[in-house]
Each structure stands twice: as C-alpha cells, then as structure tokens.
Symmetry: C2
Subunit: 387 residues, 2 copies
C-alpha cells in the first residue's frame, strides 16, 4: 500500500520512542516532560466528577458541541480578562485535546504544502511534528537567553512569505528560556507589519518560580494572534484538556470546521469535571504548591550541575517551567553521549529532535519535575561522570 | 490572512449547524444522531471511575501512550476473537477519540491530494468531512437495499486507482441499510484484487434488533482491512472512545505517528474508566436493553410512517441502528421541505450532505432513538401533513 507524502515526511516522536526503553526502574530519567504526579488533585477531581454528574446528569455522557463546554470557556475567558486585562470572551475560545491538537488544527486551516513556518531554534518537537503533517517548509531563528534573535527574525520575515510563527515565550520547551519584556515588545512591533499568524504556546506560564509574569507578545495586540493554554501542567495531562484563544472570528470558524472533521468534539465528561473542579477549589493555591515543588527540584538540579558538571558545559537557568537545556563543548554530540549515559543508568533527551535542520548537535534537554532532589542529585552526578 | 486550500474545500457539518437552530423545546427533532440518554450506564460508570482510581491512582491523570491503554485494547481484541473468530491482538488496536478521529488519521496517512476515495452513495457525512481535509477526489457507488451496487463498484475499481473504500456495512448512516451475506462475499472477492484500504466503520453493529449478525467484509480477510468500532453508541459518546483495528503493522505505525502529532494520546482517564466498567458489568445485557428500546422506537416510527406518509414516499426498514431513510417522489427537494417542516415544528436532515456530488436531492434522514414512541408518532404525523 502507498502511504501519503505527508506521513512519510513526519518524524515519529523521538521522545516517546526513547521513553519506551526507559521502563527499567533503576534508570534515573530526565528525558520525559511529565508533571509530577503528586501535583494531581485526585480527591478534588473525584469530588468534582460526583458534583458535575449530580448537577448535570446525562449531559456529561452525551455528544456535545465542537467549540467546547460554554461555562468552561467562560471561566477560561474570565481568567485572561482578570489576570492579563485581555478582552477575551467565551466565543474566542476553542477547547482542544490538549494544546497538541490546537497545533494540528492550526496547521490544518493555515498551511498549504510548502508554506513557510518559522520556529524557534531549538523549538518544541511536538509542534514540528504537528506542522509536519501539512508538509510546510520550516525556517528557524536562533533563540537567545532573552528570546528570538531580532536581526535574524527581521531578515527571515523580509525575505520569506512566512505564514505562521510558533513561539513558547515562557520557560520554553526545550530550553527553559523566557522572552524579556524588551524582546516581547520588539517582536510584537516587527511582526505587526506582516500578514501572518503568531502562535504563543503557553502551557508553563503559571509555573513561574522566579521573576514577574510578563504580558503576551501577540494576544491583545496582533490581529492574527493565537494563544494556547492547557490544564495539562497544572491539573492533569491525562484528561487532555487544552484550549486555543483567538479574536479572529473567521479563523475560529475554520478551526471549528477542522475540529468537527477531526473528532467532532473534545471529551465532554472531563470538560464538565475540570469546570466543576475549577469552580470549587482554590486553583491558584494549588498552582502555588506545584511552583514550590518545581522550584525545589530545579534548584537541586542546578546545584548538582554546579557541583558535578565540568565548566566546559553551559546550561540555562529557568525562571519556571520544567526544563534545563545544557550545551556540551563545540563538536561533541549529545546523541553519542546517550548510550554512555544509559550505561550509567541516567537518561536525557539529545537536542536533535528540537531542530528542523541540524543534526548531531551538542545540546540536550533535562527535565527536573519527576524526581526527588536526592534522585536528581544522583542522576546529575552520574551524568557529570561521563561529561 | 490566507487559509489553506484544504479547509476552504471542507464542508462544515450541515447537521451540527442545523442542530443549533433546534434548541426550542417544542420542536420534535429527528435530525440528530444521538443515542438515547437513558442508555448511559451512569451509576455503573461512576463506580468504575472510583474503582479505577482506587486501583491505579495517578496513572489515570498522567500522560500515557499514543496507542491507548493496553488492558482496554486487550479487552477489545478478546471480544473480536470471541464473537467473530478474528485473529485480533491488542497490538492491532489503536484507541481514538471516537471513530471520527480514526477517519481523520486514516486520511492523514493514506491520502495525497487528488487521491481517489470511494464512498457509498449516500454516505456518512462525517467521513466525507474527515477525508475532505486531505483534498481527495471522491467517487461514489450507489448503495442498494443489500449493499453496494456490484457492477458499478467493479466499473469504478477498474477505471480508477482507488486508494480507499469507506463502508458502513451494518445499519448504515444515513440509510439504516445492511449489506447481505452474498454482497459481503462478492465485495470481498472483488476488492481483494486491488491494492487499496478497505474501511468498515461499525459503530452500530451491536444494535441489531432483527436478523442475524453477519461477518465483516474485510476484517480477517483483506490485507489492508481497517475495522472501526466505538463505545459511543453502547456506553457513552461524551467520553469520545473509539478504536481502529488493522493487522497491517506498517499502517499501524504510521497511524500512531499521525496520532502523536494530532493529540499525543486519547484521554487516559476515560480509557481506564471504560475498561473498569467493562470488567465489572454485564455489557451484553446492557446492550440488549438498548436494542429493545431502539426496536420499540423504530417500530413506532415505521408504523406512523405507514399511517401518515403518502404511498409516494418510500423508506428503508432497518434491522438495527438509529436511522430510517425516506425518499420523496422524483423531482422533490428535501432541502425545500425543511422550512415547511420547521413551521410544523418537526425536523429531519435533508439528504444533501450525504452525497459527494448531488444536490437538491429527494431523500432525507430520520433518527428515532431520541424520542418516546408517542412523540415519534406525533412528529411523523406532522411531517406526513406536509408531504
């Protein structure tokens, strides 16, 4: 049988593939991107489910609307009005199966084969994978400590008809880096001159353990702004609840048509459950506890890296989120380091899958949210021993 | 902003659009395709959720595998081995967000722009919508009382490089028709000579209230057979749990890559819940009760049609499922009938969206699963008054 060109050109998820070999219990894995399970509000969600069924009965179990559960959309809209002063209404929100589905839908409605997609370098591999299904041409702009390189960004925009830009402005995956206020403003001004969609993917924004929350680049400012959010990192990823926000009503209509064709609608049972949970629980306090936990874990990893890594290895110092990005000396390959690390029973993600056009890179991603400080220290010690 | 060619060519769901105007409580609607909510095992599902959390804790809330929850896949595989004698193993099963997502994934991995897709005429509009996202060329073969017209099918296969065939062999949507044993064998033999994927979508197969269950056309026989199933019509549609079965391992690998890019994985919370429900409850007895309910409703509708419809209107007599298909006299338009029906406060789906190349057709779809026999009789009386 002949397969489609698009699937032949779509990478399988490197991470999900290597996660499969990490099942052995004595391996210390910094390879995943999983929230810490102690952060799941299991009892509160159980109560929320009971309450939602008591109030709404069979509505949790029936087919529902493609756009999502209206009271949940209104609750999300209200949060963005309150916290960011953005004019977001419930009709500006589409509920998706995690942010990942939002990426796929955006590709579906915007990208013809060969259209130009601008990625951060390095960039989120799930976005590379989702957009690949539409066979675009990827361009990339280096991500620096404080955001995209502006000169390179301007050069690319001037010389290529870029259709969409994908960015993760807060605690980026894979680097953990955050865009500065200055870069946000400069990027907004530059991008406003072009007819393109600006995607801000913000699954980690609430997980800030240092510094001040910053305004979005596009949301509230750019006509074709698309903001993505998720309950995966703050409530539960298993229920696959994300959302997309745009004020462009025509774009929203096309996204809804694409979602109809894709899966009719997102699981309505868990939409009711999360809505009821948000109504009856102190969400902000809950998130604060996750932030404290991740701060402790990030600190443990950074301290251990200071102790066990040679000075030739540099790394980012995230203000939030779930990842640290390390850079080996020029010319070394993180991919070649991986089997040696496995011998030491410690795992990470080699940087390769986060680039659209570079291979055998000297960078790697470390996740700190899924181990105790003690285990983190031991894992970094093992890794340091082979650097 | 410029949108993709594929979304500009994808129809919005006519049904979901007209359902929005049907909110008034005094309208009798035969337009939906909703299971009867009394069929949802709400209490048993609540207990299943409690049990699944008690046994598995945070696993219900964490990220999970793209393929789906293994014990659920095994339970599904076992059913197809037991009930149909098919050699299905858990690795042949992919859990999807309802069958609708399976259709989208199949299109993604198989269809290049312009590839030929063969549909039943009339055919399921959700499939037309899902495949449209890949911009194929649709061909169609008339669906007769006992299945596809064989001469026409052979002619199309001889003259066009068909990439996939989409069929609903049991109680088809929209017609309620079922393929006969003879047609199943003949189609299998014919199709086996061609290099194409044969999709059997079977969401209604268990809802048979008359006659004997028949073997599948492709599953167990054809190399590129894809069988789709769902818990939407027998347990709950709100949890969006469907599944795809194929023995073609290469095809399965590509489908998994496509699903990774689409949404990482299906809601694992509800996969655990449905699995626990299936383990601890008499599923077959539960389905029997739904069948009895739908038999009563179908009978009420057919009886009322016998009483109130003029002899010039013909209609199908389904052996199961959820739909009856009516044909008005030649030259009449069901679409033009619709506003008149709304004046009588009764709704149906005009046939148009179920055809890939015909408009202003004289056919319409009636759903009987969501009203009492009394209401069904009254609705058909109203409809009869304008025929």
């Amino acid at each position: 049988m002949k397969y489609s060109d698009r699937i032949l050109n779509t990478p399988s998820s490197f991470i999900r593939d290597i996660l499969k070999v990490l099942d052995a219990p004595d391996i210390i894995s910094f390879a995943g991107g999983l929230p810490n399970p102690v952060s799941f509000p299991i009892e509160a969600l159980k109560e929320a489910i009971d309450g939602a069924i008591r109030k709404n009965g069979s509505k949790l179990f029936q087919y529902s609307t493609t756009e999502g559960y209206s009271p949940l959309r209104e609750l999300i809209a209200e949060k963005y009005r309150r916290k960011f002063g953005l004019d977001i209404q419930s009709e500006d929100i589409l509920i998706t199966n995690g942010s990942q589905q939002a990426l796929e839908l955006i590709g579906t409605v915007l990208l013809n084969k060969g259209d130009k997609v601008l990625m951060e370098e390095p960039g989120y591999l799930g976005a590379i994978q989702a957009f690949s299904l539409c066979e675009p041409e990827f361009l990339s702009v280096p991500l620096e400590e404080d955001g995209l390189n502006l000169e390179k960004l301007e050069e690319v925009l001037k010389n290529h008809p870029v259709k969409l830009i994908y960015s993760v402005p807060n605690f980026q995956n894979p680097t953990g880096l955050t865009y500065s206020m200055e870069k946000r403003k400069a990027i907004r001004e530059l991008v406003s001159k072009y007819d393109l969609a600006f995607i801000e993917d913000d699954p980690y924004g609430e997980l800030r353990f240092q510094g001040e929350s910053l305004p979005y680049i596009g949301a509230g400012y750019l006509e074709n702004s698309i903001l993505l959010g998720s309950f995966s990192k703050t409530v539960t990823p298993g229920m696959r609840l994300g959302f997309l926000i745009t004020k462009n009503a025509q774009l929203m209509r096309y996204l809804v048509t694409a979602k109809q064709g894709s899966d009719l609608h997102t699981n309505i049972f868990t939409q009711y459950a999360i809505h009821e949970y948000l109504l009856n629980n102190p969400y902000e306090e809950h998130v604060k506890r996750i932030v404290e936990l991740y701060r402790t874990q990030a600190t443990a990893m950074l301290d251990a890296m200071g102790t066990y890594f040679p000075a030739s290895v540099s790394y980012t110092r995230p203000e939030g989120g779930m990842f640290i990005w390390a850079t080996l000396p020029e010319g070394q390959s993180a991919l070649k380091l991986f089997p040696k690390a496995m011998e030491q029973k410690v795992a990470f993600v080699p940087g390769d899958p986060f680039y659209v056009s570079r291979r055998e890179v000297n960078t790697l991603r470390l996740n700190y949210t899924n181990a105790t400080p003690e285990v983190i220290t031991e894992g970094i010690r093992r890794l340091g021993s082979i650097l």
